[in-house]
Symmetry: C2
Subunit: 145 residues, 2 copies
């Protein structure tokens, strides 16, 4: 049952991404909408939920991580390519490397050794990371936008 | 003996950082010099060396990781603070969070699941990551520099 609920939940995530895509926003606005959505998701999916999953349903946590690895890296890569085509992102970005680096940073938010959740709010780390990301990829035109 | 050589090696790293500091460069030039140095260090310290250390001298790898964690995070944080004071970096940076995120990305370069060393050159991933970092933290004045 828990596996079914988790699968349904992940499908909803994918549906949400498709909904955002249908709006035909530019790369930066898409990134902002997706990030707001991911931010809300992070709020729900706090470190104690992760801890419980690891303890009681490790196979669901594994499914969640696999989902993120395959779908989210591809989503980030598409967003980078879109932004480069729209000249809102730097044209010299290696989309493959940057997508993976950004994804690994998303993972880092949950690293208890670095961001123990009694000292850091997941949302603060997330928004700091988001600013760091958008400035890191934006072109001059993108920064003015 | 291996521990002594490794300790000596890490002391040399720290000495090199102090040498760069003595030059009294601004934050961006310091970051470039340090990164060139770290880039060379990465070239020497390739993933197969890491693999051998993990296998034969795990305590040395642990020492190396601990060194990086404490010294490098502090070095990054100082560089961020210096750049903010010089108005070369954005003034809204949370230096604590960004220093840790950058450090975790340095670690990610060695993640064989994402950057297998038969497909990626450590130096390419490093220079992509460096550009992504500098654009991510620079102010308008810093970008013009």
């Amino acid at each position: 049952m828990v596996v079914k609920v988790a699968t349904y939940y992940l499908n909803c995530q994918q549906y949400k991404f498709q909904e955002i895509e249908k709006k035909k926003l530019n790369a930066i606005d898409t990134l902002i909408e997706v990030s707001q959505h991911v931010g809300n998701f992070m709020k729900e999916f706090n470190p104690s939920v992760r801890y419980d999953l690891q303890k009681y349903y490790p196979e669901i946590l594994k499914m969640h991580i696999e989902y993120k690895r395959t779908h989210i890296i591809n989503n980030i890569k598409s967003n980078l390519q879109k932004g480069i085509e729209e000249r809102l992102y730097r044209t010299d970005i290696n989309t493959d490397i940057v997508a993976k680096l950004y994804f690994l940073r998303l993972e880092a938010i949950f690293d208890e050794d670095y961001f123990p959740h009694n000292e850091y709010h997941t949302k603060d780390v997330f928004s700091e990371m988001f600013r760091y990301h958008i400035y890191g990829i934006a072109s001059k035109k993108g920064l003015q936008y």
